[in-house]
Symmetry: C5
Subunit: 157 residues, 5 copies
């Protein structure tokens, strides 16, 4: 049975993991979810590595919500590099799902954006493990998470 | 018995480690604190790695206070990447607690901010080792360290 | 028989891999292509490492199309560092082929640019594996991918 | 007997290593100094790693003087990340001592600043190896190298 | 017999390797040169690592010419970090020799700058392997490659 790691933060203002887990469970069965909550996004790379090493997950979904300040962008950049570093060391997928607080106007929009992006990255995580063919079929299709798809420049197939 | 590493600097203008250690000791017992003081924040990644390797700590709290200049931001960025790198290599949590001198106006405010942030990151460190369930309960709750919590966008549970 | 990895994304708005694969096949025979499609460019470093480790490719072509926003540049930077990191760890070539959506005006131009760049990077990938002498002959010749060659400052041989 | 590595550059406009070595020798005895001079600051990370591996140093002092141009800042950033990377890999302290040419006005001030900073970082290097208690006593004291100390926000002990 | 790796690109507009190799050969004998040409500067870190691992070079000279655009600076930054990473992993010197197209005005000046810098970095490479004493004698002398030396702030010996 495969295991899917879900790492999130107490810093985020939306419980993105709840939406992600629900969407994972709607997507299929036969896997176990391993959760880890850390304080902030900069703690996610270690959380991911620990999920791989201690709980033997096959993939880690890393959910976070950087704030609005300029410094938060720096933190997100550092966290992203750390997540890539952890994934490459483990040779296992780390699906980063970040929502910047400044991407949405107002709480309602932020909630909606965070929910949608978490759900769509959860679908990506599921596909990476169980449906690589579905990803291959969508290569170059301009898919987006949380916002409307950009779409392919022209039908490619 | 678990061991908690606390690394700090002579560069910082507030003895953040004192506050962090006190809060750790208020939080529980059954752990030993291992201290290391280095000159500046760029020395913290190696200090953390050495605490993991030589003193067998289970987690490292890294405390620092970058200055006000633009260059200090670059140093903090480098230190942060190094701390993430060290944590991922060791697969052990490194809790970064930085206070930028420019975040506060005046010495009194700086002291208060540094104390609060050190205390709240110490609580996070304690929770990572002993209360992962408490962190999980606060997932997506918009918690902050040193400033007032941002709060969840809407009650999530 | 050599194996060539081709990793691409569902985020891209052009199916660059199709053009790259076709050009590889036009370039020669005696190799097998191993494909992997991931959601976005930040997933490419892990995809590359997995192609090296699990499917034993000798080289990985990594195709992606960052969007127009400032943040997309940051993502591309992170992805590039990750690809270099993966390549250095494996000591195997990772040929990055990114087309920024903002490089072209309009869909038609974007399609053309993406096609050409994918084709020319595919030629580079082929040369790295089979024709190192051809690369050596073009050292310092100001070659470009997707745009017109800049050319050598003066004939160098 | 401990060994202290001192790496410096031909790019720097002041012979900082001379000042650092003199101060180390004034600070105590019982160690051997191992020197390595490289062209520029970007060569320092490898120089440090080689001093650790081939000459078995216990700590490396890395001295450099980035120029005034914007590009020199980028080089210094890369060198700093490399030094942290080398130190973390070795789990041995790397004391970076950089003086930016633009920090001082005029040659005399540059010479003085470079000398003082080299001397004070040499003292830090000595303390890291032989006097960790002295560093601990100065935790949070706002110490600076080359300039006047910023001082603690208020007496902390 | 020592081996010197020389890695360069087809992107560069000047055949810098030709000048570097000639200068190496003028500098001394008793070494073998191992060449590798790759498409662009971001391919140099892997090329360097492969020269170390497969062709057992003792040092790698990495020659490249980033273009004039802002994006080229990002690529150069990524390449530089990769070269440092490769060098630190191998614990072998990687001498980076980059000429930014925007550093010179006009083709003739670019050719001259690229030639001089390649030659002087070749001298540095030779000195790192065979004449470490010569580098040590020039510590803090303000040496530059491709442009006039800045010189020491005051005679240091």
């Amino acid at each position: 049975m495969k295991r899917i790691g879900v790492a999130d933060t107490t810093f985020a203002r939306v419980d993105m993991a709840r939406y992600a887990v629900r969407r994972l469970q709607e997507s299929g069965t036969g896997f176990r979810i391993e959760r880890a909550t850390v304080p902030g996004i900069k703690d996610l790379p270690v959380a991911a590595r620990r999920l791989f090493q201690e709980r033997k997950v096959d993939l880690c979904l890393a959910l976070g919500m950087p704030g609005k300040a300029e410094y938060d962008k720096t933190c997100a950049h550092e966290a992203s590099l750390g997540l890539i570093f952890a994934g490459v060391l483990e040779a296992k997928p780390v699906v980063e799902c970040f929502v910047f607080e400044g991407e949405a106007e107002g709480d309602r929009e932020l909630e909606t954006l965070a929910r949608r992006r978490a759900e769509e990255h959860a679908e990506n995580a599921y596909a990476l493990l169980y449906r690589p063919d579905a990803l291959a079929r969508n290569a170059g299709h301009g898919l987006r998470q949380g916002f409307r798809d950009a779409g392919a420049v022209r039908p490619t197939r």
